[in-house]
Symmetry: D2
Subunit: 309 residues, 4 copies
């Protein structure tokens, strides 16, 4: 029988020190948080791990963009699957626009009149979105027509990344590092509207099968695959399903506020994916109930401390 | 000033009777439920409303498939946007397979060994999924190669629907009624794996831009658009963003267990979409916190009663 | 092996008809909702069941007061355990005050200035609360001093109920029917403040042990106990713990939006209570994830239909 | 206009360093977490702040007991309002028993047979609970009968604390430091059952009005009051309502997984309490959506670092 060990906070404790104490609790939230920091640190310190990061929710506009950029830059993430929204917001910042502090109590009709659009308590200017449309058109024009006739989202985003002047853009660093960003729902975003508009005038065929082939190959060739799942949605499921060809991921961490009872994939416990052959085994999994925008920065700091040792 | 009116349960009360009492409460859950039933009934009884239904989560395998089929059959839904999973499960049932009652406490490693895959407390046989793969291949072969070179998901699903023998399949009735089912994340499902495998051997190019053009046209040409949003995910956002070209939907009902604070689109209040021009105005919106698999059947019964009057 | 059966909506279907179809789904939300309606109907139609209803959250101000009153009046509820807030709001309405329709977006500082207090989108006048204070003082004065020196909450609330002129008050009908309303957290409410103030001036000793003895006796003497749990909090736990002396309740339904992972009693699955001896067995339990203010009226209508047969 | 600033993770960053970066994000989870750490640090470093801590959920058995003990020992918490469960579990550990690591998938009927009771994935032996009953009886016997005839929960718990040999017990340190622990729902716990049993045999009258007078006095005499709210339930509301006599608390932090839409006090935003006069103003409030067992240790570490400067 194993017992709960209490957390003892000490002077000059690092996040990784605290996380170790929390893992010793073994139960409830602390046990899961501590385990997640340990697994993340193991992924970071093992170059044989192909780290696949899935991102849903406003991770990029919500202040975590630089964290992602640094992880990609250091080679600590090997593939990203995300929503069209996160790509859109990275490009907006890459074009020099900033996200504005609003309030979840703002009146949306008033915001609309002022040309501001809202994500919870975060605002973006419609003018920035119009600028994105013009820039996207211009950047697409720089891609050879033949390439545009059959392009994967990861290729398209590399093209965009190489054209953005902001070197702290996620697309830019991904392009420089040849790290693929997959965006299976790219059509479903402000950027997606711009791509669709362009496709009505000039040749542009996005081929999601090319994306999937690339993702499956990455998974298949990796010695080990670790999934880092921020939020649910299609990005989560996409990472997992692509790994079914290799018999599942070897380790996975998920942070979510979604609940399991509705039966949706977003809130499903990772264990469920074992029955589908998308995850290998029980003991390297951890689901943390919480807000990824709060927990991921803290976990990353702790895991980096562990990985440096 | 307006006051809360209490609910009075009477003998021989229909759902619509109860919903009217609940709307009179005006506040909290009852007020929202009652309002949702009223708005849904208005949509059902007004042929100038283009009813766009977005579905995320296990609505089809969770016992609501026949409800959807009947709504489509009666012309009460004019477009569906859903996940690859719901389409997959409709096809599985369309091929004669049934969903099995399991438990959320089942051991997933044991299930894996038994060839069963789990969605919360619901199971599906891997053999059924293998059958789907063979059938999909066969059904794709029946589609002319030229058509396969540039096909929208709604077209693909009509082709499948016309080939399924089960006339109570959602794809089948959609095909018969020429009602489009859009599946922007079709790649991200068991069916998607089969499509990808096929595309490695024979020509198959799915063109999401064709889907989006169709969806935008439907929205643009409609006198009024009403969105019925079950769960969040890409289906929810897709319906809303497609309506931004017409200045937003005219009415919307959303049922979700997702929360707003994380900033993700799934849990966002409908009001937020006003600031993006995806919804027109405040007074025809209602968000109901709850499980769509429970609430939608009840609401539909109530709304149909209202619409018949 | 058991299979999922789809729901079929028909013309002239009652709530109990629909609930039977939903129970046949057996899984996810529909299966649970259907089962809950059936169990509730069994409780209602079996006079050997002592029905203990726990209520947390704004059930009384949220429009469900009359439903409770009718259930008590018909003898379909045999004990209620609730919060001080629900008792407070019943007395406010019993004194002739009404709850006002507000908005969850209201500015609370402005409301404060206007003398309005908020519960989500529901408002109450501070003047009503002041009236309650005066009335409480007056009603307490009518209780003999000796009685006031050692009084249980259920006795106190019977005294109040008998003095309220509004015969549609929950306290009033409970008093008339000698049905106990237990309020273990009575101190923690606006009414509680009034009781405390009074106790500083005149003799008033509330003895929660007397309440507990009464509740344990009710449980102990009942042939069967059924728990109907709306929301979590102390009321939920109180009903369950009082039943540990008889080896647990025989059947239980809980409706909650609280989640289990935090480990709190409110969101705990009912099964957990089996390990504590508070619930007897697995097969007469059902947890429904949802808002009780929406689901309980519907379930009650369905269960009453069943009970009449 | 104010802009979102991204988080930059650096080498040798403390929790307080990271929290400052997160506060600069200003929006969503990071902004709230950073603000909460700052406010908590301000409370810790200002001796004019009366820090009132409310605790619901398994904070003590879930590994945070030592954190609470250290905060009380250093005078960084001036009053605690908690559930009977947390007091029960503190006493169990104080008597030498430990909490056992289980699983949320454990079969509760099997656990019952083995004499184990479950809190999510945490177990406690029934034998330990029986030991508590005997010890409670013995400890009550040591309290003079006259004292027992009219005793507040905070007094009772001081008596227990002074008799426990474990000096790392929360009750023990509270007793030593004369810091009151209020337990308005003490009746509703395993300890409560023991108190009730005792009261059937020997004089024991617990007087919650004495508790409330003490709590109101603490609030009234404090220059500033800061509320630290872990979970909801009666403890949360109790701290807030007791402060209504002084016009509300000056600052408040709440960590919860409960949602607001149901209208219950647990999930209510702190702003709502302004309309009731329980909180003074908007700008020193922060609600953090998350699991307190995960977030509170991290926030405490960060706030202590800030307070030391």
């Amino acid at each position: 029988m194993s017992y709960v060990s209490p957390i003892k906070i000490k002077r000059r404790m690092t996040v990784s020190d605290l996380a170790r104490q929390m893992e010793a609790v073994k139960v409830l939230g602390p046990g899961r948080f501590g385990k997640a920091v340990r697994i993340l640190g193991e992924m970071f310190s093992d170059q044989h791990y192909c780290k696949m990061l899935s991102i849903a929710g406003p991770i990029v506009p919500g202040g975590l963009r630089s964290i992602l950029v640094d992880l990609v830059d250091k080679g600590l993430v090997n593939a990203i699957v995300t929503t069209g929204a996160n790509v859109t917001h990275d490009m907006l910042e890459g074009l020099g626009h900033r996200h504005i502090v609003g309030s979840e109590m703002d009146n949306d009709e008033t915001l609309r009149e002022k040309g501001l659009s809202r994500i919870y308590d975060l605002l973006v200017r419609q003018k920035a979105i119009e600028h994105l449309e013009r820039s996207t058109r211009h950047m697409l024009d720089q891609i050879p027509t033949e390439t545009r006739r059959n392009i994967a989202t990861f290729e398209l985003l590399w093209h965009f990344g190489s054209q953005l002047k902001d070197k702290r853009s996620l697309l830019s660093v991904a392009s420089r590092k040849s790290m693929p960003i997959f965006c299976p729902g790219i059509f479903d975003s402000m950027l997606g509207l711009d791509l669709w508009t362009y496709s009505q005038l000039k040749p542009l065929f996005i081929n999601p099968f090319k994306d999937f082939s690339k993702l499956v190959n990455l998974s298949y060739e990796a010695k080990r695959v670790g999934a880092i799942i921020l939020g649910g949605g299609m990005p989560k499921h996409h990472v997992l399903i692509a790994n079914s060809y290799r018999g599942g991921v070897d380790a996975a961490i998920q942070i979510t506020l979604d609940r399991p009872e509705g039966g949706g994939a977003s809130g499903a416990p990772l264990e469920e994916a074992i029955s589908w052959g998308k995850i290998k085994k029980r003991d390297s999994l951890v689901t943390l109930i919480g807000d990824a925008t709060v927990l991921f920065p803290i976990m990353t700091l702790g895991a980096l401390e562990n990985a440096r040792k």
